[in-house]
Every structure is written in structure tokens, then in C-alpha cells.
Amino acid sequence: MRNLINTLLSLFGTIYRYRYTIWIMAVQEIRAKYAGSVLGVVWNIIHPVVLVFIYWVVFSVGFKVPPPNNIPFLSWFFCAFVAWQCFAESLLSASNSLLRNGNLIKKTVFPAQILPVISILSNLINSVVFIVLLILIMLIQGVDLSFYAFQAAYYIFAISMLSLGAGWFFSAASVFIKDANQLLAVALQTLFWATPIFYNIGMFPESIQVYWKINPIYYLVEGFRDSFIYHRPFWDSPELTVYYWTFTILVFLIGGWFFKSVKKEFADII
């Protein structure tokens, strides 16, 4: 246990020590995302807009899904979808960060543990784009916003911590097994449908709803809905909050410990 705590402290120490490096590289990652294509920033908006449009056509126009709790389906669904998208993209890019920067690891004395941090940080800009889009849709559909919307910042933080812990694990694993990221993508696909994003957990009997709640992402998507749609603070569901953070700290410890213990072999293999 002591070992784990030390690992955790040294990981945070490294992040603090290299904060300036992290900043430069995160800004660069964002710039790289936007530069190089003619439309630049626009692409990052077009992509989610097209997604939203397709979902709207399929669910609201095509299937005529009735609005849950009298909230327009698109707002209700997209709210959870944003939380999911932030998590999935952060995790995937963090997991890929070591292989993407193999050159740095092989040729310089580089603190590899900050690479997933940089990926997650630079991904925040995507989350912001998505949240702005969500707010626009809600305004168009006439859904009320409240101050609870600022709670999204807390959930984004929660998302980042979970994806960092998991990102340490998967990025280190992917150095040894190049397929790890493919496996992760498949797993995320499954997890997506296991999370109540498109559907309402209320459609299942109360007794089995707990199975959905085991999934820590449930806390995040419901949290986003609480913040934007139901206007509920996160402390209204203390069990879920405690569960989520226990889970996240565990993932963090395991991911951090795994990363540290295999780190010295990175330069040999990449």
C-alpha cells in the first residue's frame, strides 16, 4: 500500500515538475489538430454537428422516440453523449500517446508518464466544443439551463482522472502489445451500449437497475444530465459519488503502478 502511495506521489510530482513541458506540448497538440487542414477549427465543429443531425433524424424524426420526462430527446440524449464522447476520446488518445511519441521516448530522456496527461489536456478543447454545441441545442429546443451547468467542470475533472488512470495502463500495455488499443476500442464500443446514453435506465425494473450503476460511466452521463437538465447537485447521490471515486482511485493506482513498473523497458521496445 505504501508503495502504491509513493508511486502516486511520484507521478504527481513528475506532472508538477514538468508542468511547463506539459503546457507547451498540449498547446502544440491542439494546434496540430487544427492546423494543416483548410477548414482548421471548423472540422472539429462540423464533425459533432453532423453527428447530432444524424441522431436527430434517426431518433426524433424517424423513430419518433417520445421525449423522456418531457424533455426533447435530442437534448436529453446529446447531454449524455457529450459526457461519453469526452471520456472515450480522452482515454483513446491517452492510450495511444506513447506509441505516437515513440521518438521522444527512444531518443531523449523524456518523462513518459506525462504523455497521457498531455493528450487528456489537449482533448479538453474538444470537450469544450461539444459542451458549447450542447448548450446551443438546448437553447434551440427551449430546455432551461441553470447554474448547475457549471457542475460540468467537476464532471470533466472526474472524466479526466479516470481516463488518466486508465490511460496510463493502456498506453503502457500498448507498447508491449500493439493490439491493446484495438482491444480498447472494441471494449469501448460495448461499453457505449451498456451505458444508458440512448435509453433511459428507468425503463428497467428498479431491482436490476443496479447492474447499470456498476458501470462508472453511468455516474458521468447521469451527472451531465443532472447538471444540464435535471438541475441536481452531485452531492445528491453520495453513494454513486463515493463509488465512482473509489473506483477511479483504484484505476489510478493500478494504472500508475503498472506504468511505473514497466516504464524502463519502453525504450527497448518502442
Binding site: 507547451i24 527512444k106 502489445i177
Partner: protein, 442 residues
């Protein structure tokens, strides 16, 4: 002096897998079956580097030089043993160490600086210095991917030396820059040396090691083969590079012992010194008794031919201990063949005392016709040249080899065998005396 780098019992093993599948199989195997081939890139390396020393690391391709550097800098961890470095290391491993291709040169400087632990302000102070040294003009604000390889290495080198390192590690990289920039770099080296900083220099160019290092180590097949003064280490390296395994020498020489040396066609030469040389007893190696003989010569070859005697004639003196510059000297050498050699190669090389080659010549490269030689025959070759050198000490190496279907087999090479002390009345700089005429015209 204090020690800044300590390397003890250092070994590095790479696991070679036939494919990524094998790695997973090995990992999951219940009986821990091995699917990999161990490859020892470094084995049991021991040495240390003192503060202010300039160490050259030489070795053939694949001898483990790069791995050793990666371990010293901390990029890689050793499989066993320790490598401890005391002080800030700045390393220029391969081109453009950790430059991000998409970033501009300037941004890369900030990135690199931040990795070295500098604050934004400290980096901002250094950037103008780096810019000035690299001298790449407007390109500093262009993405690094647009750089030519020359610009790349200039910026990388510049950034590496401006982080105030205690230990500077330079890989082959410098070869890319142009001559002017290289010169600038070497001047910077000397500045560093004078400041008492430690430099580790890895290269294939033995001349550079001879010129810039005060100690060298030789790596061969992952082992530390030699550690000593640059010239000795370079000689050993050249032997590895050009020679054949030493063990063969013993076997063949004992075989050929029976062959009595004899001179077939006695040449007509009126020089009494030569006559004396010619008539010397042929049964033993007289080189060692020559007053100009260098006890630290480096000798190798397969032993089926021997350089058995030599004579230096300068201004009618035999084996003079000092030679007047710009006079003509003649070196005679006796070669004894212990087997039939169809195409012998005779050669001579002159080097400065720190190992820089001044010139070299051999009958193969000169396309000079040479007679085939019978077993037991003795050949006498003369080399005559003007000593256009500045004052100093020089070594002459003599060599005998055989050309066999395009391959050069060394029979007896005696590197640095002859020690020449040259006296030049003028105090010119450099190595060669060009007989330059300097005139004040107006």
C-alpha cells in the same frame, strides 16, 4: 580529479522476438517457456570518466556504442550493473534529439529547455544565443520539418551546448553540418574543455578522436576491449576493422619457421649505410635494436610474412634521432616471406603523435607492379620523401599485406614502429610545412 560518470559491471540484454505474437505467448505460458532470443548488446562494461576528460568511444557498427550512450544519458536502463552520472547531461544522440517536427525551431527550443528543467524566463534568455550560434536565420520560426538536415543539426547542436551541461555527449551527428559550422563546433569543444567540462564523443572518425580526446575506449561485440590513450586505442580499432583474428598468427608462424630467409637479387647501391643494412644477419628481427624503434608499436597480421628490419637514412646518417625538416629521408625495410605470395602489398603511413594521419601510401593503391615472392625470399623496399613537416614527433607505420582476389590480408603490420623527431627552424603552425612564401608587397 573527481569522477563524473561511473559505469560498473554494466550489461544490457535485448529480447529478440520473432514477432509480436511470441511476446504474448511467452507472457502467458504457464511453464515460462522462453520464446525470445537474448541478445547481449553490452556485457560487463566497467570504466569511469573524470571531470574535464574528453573521452572518445569507438567501435565498429553494432559494437554497442549507441546503447552505451543511451544508458549513460538515461534513455535506457541497463539489464544489470549501474551507470551513474553526476551533473547535467546534454546529449546529441542522432539527429535532432527529440525535436517535434511540427513545431517551429523556436518552440522546440522552449520544449527542449523545459525538459532540461529550465523555466520559461531562463529559456528566453538563452534563445538569442542559440539562434546566433545556429545561424539559420528566418527558419527559426518555421516548422522543423521544413529544415534541411544541415539546419536541423545546427539547431540541435546549438541547443545542446547552450543548456550549460556538465557532461556533453556527441554522437556522429556533427558530420552533417558544413565545414564552417563544424569548425565552430570544434572551437566550442575546446572552450568546453578549457572550462573543465566532460565530453563524450562517439564517432567512426579516428582522426577526430585523436584530435579532440585525451582518452578513448574501444567497444567490440558489446565488450570493453580497450581503455587507454587515443592513439593506442585507435590502432587496436584499425586492427579490428582491417585485420584478421590474432589467433591465426601463432599457428602459421610456427609452421613457417623452417623457411630460411634469403635475398635473391642483390641490388647495386653504392650507399655504404645501405650495404651495411643489406649484409646484416637475416636470422632475427633487428627492428627492436633500431634507435628510432618505438616500443609501443602496435603489431598484427597473420604472420606469414615479417617486417624484419628497417633503416632510416637522413642527411647521410643512419637512424638519426632528430631530422631536419625539409630534407629528404629514405626508409629501407626488409620483408621476409614465409609463404609464396602472388601479389604482395608494401605500404607506409606517417602519423602525428596524436594519431592524425599525415599521409599514407601503398603499392596497391598506387597501382604499382610488384613481383610475386617465393617462400623464404626477402624483399627490400625503399621509401623516399621530403620531410615537409613542422617541428614535432611523428610515427611511421610499415605494413606488408597480400592481395588475394580483391581481398587484402595483412601479413605483418607494424603501426607506429618508427619514431621520427622532426626539427623545423621556423615556428609554423599545423602539421605540414608548405614552403609558403610570405611577402609584404606594399
Amino acid at each position: 580529479m573527481s569522477i563524473v560518470v561511473t559505469i560498473e559491471n554494466l550489461s544490457k540484454c535485448f529480447k529478440l522476438y520473432r514477432g509480436p505474437k511470441d511476446r504474448v505467448k511467452e507472457w502467458l505460458h504457464p511453464l515460462r517457456k522462453q520464446y525470445h532470443q537474448p541478445f547481449w548488446a553490452l556485457q560487463d562494461i566497467n570504466f569511469s570518466i573524470k571531470k574535464g576528460e574528453s573521452l572518445g568511444i569507438i567501435g565498429r557498427n553494432g559494437s554497442g556504442k549507441s546503447t552505451l550512450l543511451q544508458i549513460i544519458t538515461g534513455v535506457m536502463s541497463p539489464t544489470s550493473g549501474v551507470s551513474v552520472a553526476d551533473g547535467r547531461i546534454s546529449a546529441l544522440l542522432e539527429l535532432g534529439t527529440g525535436f517535434d517536427m511540427e513545431l517551429s525551431g523556436r518552440d522546440n527550443l522552449y520544449l527542449n529547455g523545459s525538459l532540461m528543467g529550465f523555466s520559461k524566463e531562463q529559456i528566453a534568455e538563452r534563445v538569442p544565443l542559440i539562434e546566433e550560434f545556429a545561424d539559420i536565420g528566418e527558419f527559426i520560426d518555421q516548422p522543423v520539418k521544413l529544415y534541411s538536415s544541415g539546419m536541423f543539426v545546427r539547431l540541435a547542436f546549438s541547443s545542446a551546448i547552450h543548456v550549460d551541461p556538465d557532461i556533453l555527449i556527441i554522437d556522429e551527428a556533427l558530420a552533417v553540418g558544413d565545414v564552417k559550422f563544424q569548425n565552430k563546433c570544434y572551437r566550442k569543444f575546446h572552450e568546453f574543455q578549457e572550462m573543465g567540462k566532460t565530453i563524450i564523443f562517439v564517432t567512426h572518425s579516428t582522426d577526430l578522436v585523436a584530435k579532440h580526446c585525451d582518452r578513448a575506449v574501444l567497444l567490440h561485440q558489446g565488450r570493453l576491449m580497450m581503455d587507454g590513450n587515443p592513439n593506442d586505442v585507435i590502432n587496436k580499432y584499425l586492427e579490428l576493422l582491417l585485420g584478421i583474428p590474432e589467433k591465426k598468427q601463432e599457428k602459421e608462424s610456427s609452421q613457417a619457421k623452417a623457411e630460411q630467409p634469403r635475398i635473391v637479387n642483390v641490388p647495386a647501391n653504392s650507399d655504404p649505410l645501405f650495404k651495411e643494412f643489406l649484409n646484416k644477419d637475416l636470422s632475427e628481427d633487428h627492428c627492436l635494436q633500431n634507435p628510432t624503434y618505438n616500443g609501443n608499436e602496435h603489431r598484427y597480421g597473420d604472420g606469414s610474412g615479417k617486417i624484419m628490419d628497417y633503416l632510416v637514412v637522413g642527411e647521410n646518417n643512419a637512424n638519426p634521432l632528430q631530422i631536419q625538416a625539409n630534407t629528404i629521408i629514405r626508409i629501407y625495410a626488409k620483408y621476409h616471406f614465409l609463404k609464396k605470395v602472388e601479389t604482395p602489398i608494401f605500404g607506409l603511413t606517417l602519423k602525428t603523435i596524436d594519431g592524425v594521419e599525415v599521409f599514407g601510401i601503398n603499392t596497391l593503391f598506387e597501382r604499382q607492379d610488384v613481383k610475386p615472392r617465393e617462400t623464404g625470399e626477402v624483399a627490400i623496399v625503399s621509401y623516399e620523401f621530403p620531410v615537409s613537416l613542422i617541428s614535432g614527433e611523428y610515427f611511421v607505420s610499415l605494413g606488408l599485406a597480400e592481395s588475394q582476389s580483391g581481398e587484402i590480408i595483412p601479413l605483418d603490420r607494424r603501426y607506429d614502429m618508427v619514431h621520427l623527431k622532426v626539427y623545423n627552424s621556423s615556428s609554423k603552425m599545423g602539421i605540414v610545412d608548405f614552403d609558403l612564401q610570405l611577402q609584404e608587397l606594399v
